[in-house]
């Protein structure tokens, strides 16, 4: 492997990692507040891909992208209101089954509406422009993804640490019931969390599918699971952690694929999950949680 191909792989890995990081943040925020693995998050990401395909049919990309983000946000918030809100006090397993039901529903709905055949993702000419640095050439999207990810994460950190809604989010994730007693409208906070998560998933979907070129009803499944692992790696509840986790998993996966172990790159992610949970269950940046009896 020459230096330039290595560099090329690293660049691809970082770009993939950026998209993963954006999805992982959605998982980590929802888990931080509701203690729920939002199984449907990967499918929201997939739906965003389909929305983009249909938006681009008649609209220029400058309008299509914000429109897709808005629709995805609405989808995420509606899912929370319909499927998770009625189960706030239900046992943990019921909420998880509800999340699975939503994931199952979105996959089946996508199969029903758009058929199971892969659909070509529209090309955004601006993102597909080829750049050349020395021997390494790549499309603009590869460069933009990590930069955009970092900008969004910095913005999100500002939102969480310096605004009122951010403070409410932190309070709710610390202690659900006390926050409620302090007069925080937890339903609004949870909706805001889902809105942010879905927005980032939409951005992630546009960047991810621009590189992949096609969408199927099941293309949200594996990225979704991997991004959950990324969130666990970074320490669930921690946003910078999710970002780092996303980059690490994206890089490792690309390098494994480049070395010819493409079938085992998925296996690697889940082995990583088990190793983290055994040796450092709080992840890289997570806080320690003690189970009280």
């Amino acid at each position: 492997m020459t230096l330039s191909t290595l560099f090329q792989h690293i660049l691809t890995g970082i770009s993939l990692g950026g998209a993963y990081a954006l999805i992982a943040i959605g998982y980590t925020m929802v888990y931080g507040i509701l203690r729920l693995i939002n199984f449907a998050h990967g499918d929201i990401f997939m739906m965003a891909g389909y929305f983009m395909i249909f938006a681009m049919v008649s609209l220029p990309w400058q309008i299509a992208i914000p429109l897709v983000c808005i629709i995805t946000v609405i989808l995420g918030v509606v899912i929370e209101r319909v499927a998770y809100k009625p189960l706030r006090s239900a046992p943990r397993m019921s909420i998880m089954i509800s999340a699975i039901a939503i994931s199952y529903l979105l996959q089946n709905l996508a199969t029903y509406l758009f058929t199971a055949l892969p659909r070509a993702f529209p090309e955004i000419p601006f993102l597909k422009k080829i750049f050349q640095i020395g021997n390494v050439s790549s499309s603009l999207v590869t460069f933009i993804t990590p930069i955009l990810t970092i900008i969004l994460v910095v913005g999100l950190m500002f939102l969480i640490n310096h605004t009122k809604i951010g403070m409410a989010m932190r309070a709710v994730s610390k202690d659900f019931e006390t926050a409620q007693l302090m007069g925080i409208r937890i339903n609004n906070v949870i909706s805001a969390t889902f809105a942010i998560g879905s927005f980032l998933a939409a951005v992630g979907a546009i960047l991810y599918f621009t590189d992949r070129m096609s969408v199927t009803p099941f293309s949200g499944m594996l990225p979704g699971l991997k991004c959950f692992v990324a969130a666990v790696l970074g320490g669930i509840g921690s946003i910078p952690g999710a970002m780092v986790g996303g980059f690490v998993i994206g890089l490792c996966e690309t390098i494994l694929v480049a070395m010819g172990y493409s079938t085992f790159s998925d296996a690697f992610t889940f082995t990583l999950l088990i190793i983290i949970l055994l040796f450092r269950p709080t992840g890289l940046f997570g806080e320690k949680i003690i189970d009280k009896v």
Binding site: M93, I100, Y112, F228, L278
Partner: protein, 374 residues
């Protein structure tokens, strides 16, 4: 007095079921659909009960069923592909020498052994899956509920990826799958195997082990304080659950006669979860009933959702391929949201329960709009 009456009822039910099976066996051609649905339903009942054992009775939310079924299906298939057509099945990439020597060895075994081969194949599939379950159980079962779900789901996806990977071509035939698997001799055989599996699980749940499982489900910490070895019982439940999931996978392979890795996606696990939730999490008879019911609706009664429907010359909107599955996912969601106990809740079917339900229904209809029934 009462118990003997119930016993008689149960015997009558068993005799009626057997008679029905014989009738279907004889008139296979005429009632093809019922035959298929019953076979598939009872096969899925085995895996649904096994999932209920792990999820409903032990409280471990495991989503690895499809992976274990895949292991069982592939092991069973390799046992049951006739030796003379094995080259034909692996026409793309050739067959691994290990399988070839194994198959010639099977050929040389005595005839009684070969006639038992389907049972041996299913057991072998189950044992391989149980071994996998024991190995991955060591790290995975220490995880908390939701992490366990993701880890087992991940395991199932890894299993599928490994089965369809080019490195395994000479064993699993990659993405071409395995064909020409020896099928069941009759519907009664399917029912007998399923009955043995389910009876074993019922006996397990009624034993001391079963009570320990339920204690773990209710409160892990309290169970541990009562002297229940958490890890031992969790792995026992997980291993036995995986064993029967794999047996069911093997039966599915025998039923379909050909398998490939695409059969065992996460959707299969979700289908089984649907059955368990509809039947009631923590009810064996609920799982069996709902497995037959869901399979019949899916493959037979609700098929019409998937084809365009015309009333006169008016085409009913929405009806096209895939609509059926949308309805099933909505049903799953509605049950979780509004009717969490499913068909049976945590109750088991009993004649007394049936009589009670019948009486309740009667009194309800006799005083319409009358007294409140709590």
């Amino acid at each position: 007095m009462k118990t003997s009456k119930n016993l008689i009822y149960s015997l009558i039910l068993a005799v009626v079921t057997l008679a029905l099976l014989f009738f279907l066996e004889v008139n296979k051609a005429k009632y093809g659909m019922a035959y298929t649905v019953l076979t598939k339903g009872i096969i899925l009942a085995v895996v649904a009960v096994s999932m209920n054992l792990v999820t409903g009775f032990t409280g471990l939310f495991s989503l690895g069923q499809a992976g274990f079924m895949a292991i069982g299906a592939y092991v069973t298939a390799i046992f049951l592909i006739p030796t003379n057509s094995i080259e034909e099945v692996y026409y793309m990439s050739g067959v691994s020498p290990a399988i070839l020597t194994f198959k010639t060895w099977l050929e040389s075994t005595p005839l009684w052994f070969q006639s038992l081969l389907p049972y041996i194949a299913l057991t072998a599939g189950g044992l391989v899956a149980a071994l996998f379950a024991a190995l991955i159980g060591i790290p995975v079962l220490r995880l908390k509920s939701d992490y366990l779900a993701i880890a087992t789901l991940g395991f199932s996806e890894i299993m599928r990826a490994i089965i369809s990977s080019p490195q395994m071509d000479t064993i699993t035939n990659g993405s071409y799958g395995l064909k020409k698997i020896q099928g069941f001799s009759s519907l009664i055989q399917v029912f007998l195997i399923a009955a043995v599996c389910i009876t074993f699980m019922i006996l397990l749940i009624r034993s001391t082990y079963g009570r320990a499982f339920k204690a773990i489900r209710e409160d892990e910490i309290a169970a541990e304080a009562m002297g229940i070895n958490l890890f031992k019982h969790k792995s026992l439940s997980f291993i036995i659950g995986s064993f029967f999931a794999a047996v069911s996978g093997g039966m599915l392979a025998m039923f379909m006669r050909s398998i490939d890795a695409k059969t065992f996606t996460v959707s299969l696990t979700y289908d089984i979860l649907l059955i368990v939730v509809v039947g009631g999490i923590g009810s064996i008879t609920g799982s069996i009933l709902s497995s037959l019911l869901v399979t019949a609706s899916k493959e037979w009664w609700l098929r019409f959702f998937d084809s365009p429907l015309y009333i006169g010359s008016f085409q009913v909107p929405l009806f096209k391929t895939g609509f059926r599955m949308v309805i099933f996912s909505v049903v799953l969601l509605l049950i979780v949201l509004f009717y969490q106990r499913g068909l049976m809740g945590r109750n088991e079917f009993s004649w007394d329960g049936l009589a009670k339900a019948f009486n309740k229904l009667k009194s309800k209809s006799s005083n319409k709009g009358g007294s409140k029934i709590a």
